[in-house]
Symmetry: C2
């Protein structure tokens, strides 16, 4: 519970309606998109301006109250669960598109705007903002920035980080910083813009962002390639890149995913295939035609059993449905779905999928794998039951070993979901003890009293590394 003095100060800043301590509000903000995590905050606040955010932070810093800023809470790393209580700051009221500058190809937005709404607005103007996380229909741009969200177009177009060129943010002490601007180049001091992207609400509260827009591709083509041999699919991925083609999308589904998706969406997918690749290329018509023709050749060369190129937008949609339904289809199987995002160099995808399968077998858990093959970002997804503590323990052990395998293959513990609460015990595996030390130092420089999303990114203690038994 907050001290009455704190509550009344907060209420004075935003008005009665926008500061809540009722049970309903607290419960509604006690969890996020991550399964099995919940913790009640002491209050929920909905600021409407940078000035209000700044005033709120001054009060919270004075009384040493933790704060978790959030958008829709669709993250998958427990990034917005208020594990140390305090105040949840919901950014939904700050949801304006402040400006679209067509001369400079930039958009300036408040953090609370829904990603898909922003993208729609931009596309209506004939422009393009590539980051397209799967959660885009509910996620906010602020949340995307906090987590450095990726998506299906990451391979060719990069992730959120590549499009954020300026930020306004409120520090723990309430002061406001402005980084970057409508500038394609700015080397005035350390790059605070890129540092804040992906900082998961632990360094500052983002109150405005300037985003780079690009011209949209003129056309797009979609195809599927199906393989009886996992390595054939993986080699196809490498060969495409080696042929100096960077597709817009290059997605992967393994056999368990194919079966589940087919049960769910009844697409008539061949259930005996070991892997399906979904490939899209966009750009000028001649280039797209040429690339798609060359990619088909590569697929066949690598023994694809079937290659389908969509001849119409409707057919493309049908092919895309296979990949898009992966998560939903898997989520229907059992009560709890845990979606991970171990990432490896793209040349190691086949090795990684095989290791995931070995590990799943070893721990007797069900894991299906799909994801962004082109950038090595896989989503091994466990279907399980949170009520079965013993099984959940096995799932957790399996994931620990999967993270270990991805590090061993030159990869990372998280490619696009973030560290949050879930990956904190594993962060040291990737960045080492000196890396953690430096990051803790950065955290302290921004937030000396550890009030901004405390308990995230840094674990009390790192998990011990598993000794892998395989081969």
């Amino acid at each position: 519970m907050l001290k009455p003095e704190v509550s009344s100060k907060l209420r004075a800043i935003v008005g009665d309606r926008y500061f809540r301590e009722d049970r309903e509000a607290l419960v509604a903000h006690s969890y996020d998109g991550t399964p099995m995590l919940q913790s009640l905050p002491d209050g929920v606040i909905y600021p409407s301006s940078t000035e209000e955010v700044s005033a709120v932070m001054k009060v919270l810093q004075e009384f040493r109250v933790p704060v978790v800023s959030r958008g829709s809470g669709s993250n998958l790393c427990g990034g917005t669960v208020p594990v140390q209580g305090g105040v949840v700051m919901v950014m939904h009221r700050m949801n304006r598109i402040v400006e679209v500058d067509e001369e400079n190809l930039t958009a300036t937005v408040q953090p609370g705007i829904i990603t898909a709404d922003f993208i729609q607005h931009i596309e209506n103007l004939g422009l393009f903002y590539p980051p397209d996380p799967s959660s885009m229909k509910i996620s906010t741009i602020g949340g995307n920035i906090a987590e450095c969200s990726g998506g299906l177009r990451g391979l060719k177009y990069g992730t959120t980080k590549d499009y954020v060129i300026g930020l306004e943010a409120v520090l723990a002490n309430g002061s406001v910083i402005r980084t970057g601007g409508k500038l394609m180049k700015d080397v005035a001091g350390y790059d605070l813009t890129k540092l804040l992207v992906g900082s998961e609400g632990t360094l500052a509260i983002i109150t405005e962002a300037t985003l780079k827009l690009i011209p949209p591709p003129k056309t797009k083509k979609t195809m599927l390639a199906m393989y009886r041999d996992l390595y054939g699919a993986a080699r196809t991925v490498s060969r495409i890149i080696e042929s100096k083609i960077i597709p817009a999308t290059l997605e992967f589904m393994d056999n368990p995913t194919i079966r589940v998706v087919d049960d769910y969406a009844r697409l008539g997918l061949p259930r005996d295939m070991e892997a399906i690749l979904l490939i899209e290329q966009d750009g000028d018509p001649e280039s797209v035609e040429r690339d798609i023709a060359r990619i088909q050749d590569i697929c066949r060369l690598e023994q694809a059993d079937r290659v389908e190129v969509a001849e119409s937008r409707e057919e493309a949609e049908r092919l895309l449905t296979a990949r898009r339904s992966a998560f939903t289809a898997l989520a229907r199987l059992r009560p709890t779905t845990i979606l991970e995002d171990a990432t490896v160099p793209r040349s190691r995808i086949a090795d990684m999928v095989l290791r995931i399968n070995e590990i799943a077998q070893k721990y007797n858990v069900t894991i299906a794998t799909f994801g962004h093959a082109g950038d090595g970002n896989l989503h091994p997804t466990a279907t399980t039951d949170a009520r079965d503590a013993e099984e959940i323990h096995r799932v957790e052990e399996a994931f620990a070993e999967i993270f270990e395998a991805s590090i061993e293959l030159g990869g990372t513990i998280t490619g696009e979901h973030g560290v949050g609460l879930v990956k904190a015990p594993y962060l040291e595996w990737k960045v080492g003890e000196p890396g953690i030390e430096v990051m803790r130092g950065i955290k302290a420089a921004f937030d000396p009293h550890n009030l901004l999303n405390p308990g995230k990114m840094f674990a009390k203690s790192s998990k011990k590394r598993v000794v892998l038994q395989h081969g």
Copy 2:
């Protein structure tokens, strides 16, 4: 002078040949590419491995000796002048290409490799590394990373930051961190990779870098457009981008630059033009043809007096010579050339050039302006004489006012040269007092004893802002 104990410890690490305290070595490393700055170090060390760098840092930290790491010292911000003495660490011996991974499209290199040598090697393999700073024939990749170098291709392809995806670096205390990897996506903790790029040797010593490569464009076309009206040229820049064309290169020269270049290179440039744009587009042949045709239309619409499209590689080279000789031609005029890099949103280029001209007139100094119009990164260049203290004072006042103008137009004090010594007094104008505070905190987290390139980025006191008189 270093304590004999320090010298002998350093000598023991790298061998007699690679630690020098003789006057010749000290003088040779007392300055860099920036005019009018010089300061003697106490020693010069040439490590050959990460282990040696780590061992050296342990000694320097124990004895609290400052260290300036450098490549060729071609920077223009005084970034590698050892203003507080200590040891200059020259990275030239660590110049290997460790690996080019064609499956993952990455290269792993040591910092001391010459940029042009690296690019040549990559291009021979049929791959592409876009950052092309003008100094590339002498600069090192490590130096490019420290300064986040740009170049002529920045508009379409971005700068060094966009291609560094992994780093190995030695901290002030000698411990080694590894960030990122051969990974297109990695959100494990704060983005130390992007933070170290552009950190000017103040946070860590970079000992290895993993760089992203991309497929090269299939073809390229080059054109010049000449204008009697500065605004026509500036509007052309905006119109091209608004037409959803991002050229590979979009460079600008003003009238004083045109005259000097023509005197120097005898290209028969029309000396009465107010501006010349050099435009290049690359990509697939059909797309390039289409873009160049559309760009010509735009140039004519905006009253270009003359438009020339190169029909051959030789003709393209001739057109490129005009822009490439700008600095050399200007440098011949008078003993001292000061090249700046004020940067504004690209829609404000014409305003900025006019302001520069007003300011030059006000202070009675000679400033010619050329630069990267497409990304708003201008190079106002003063030709002066370092021996004339009174004139130099006027030049400095003029530049202070130019920086002020660029901030006022939504720009920054440096687009690609870095802060170093030269811009340190102005940094607060861009990032504000809270921004400086945060940056100082980051610096202290990495380097608590302030040994890594001390005296750079942060000034003892910020310069007072000029009150602008114009209009």
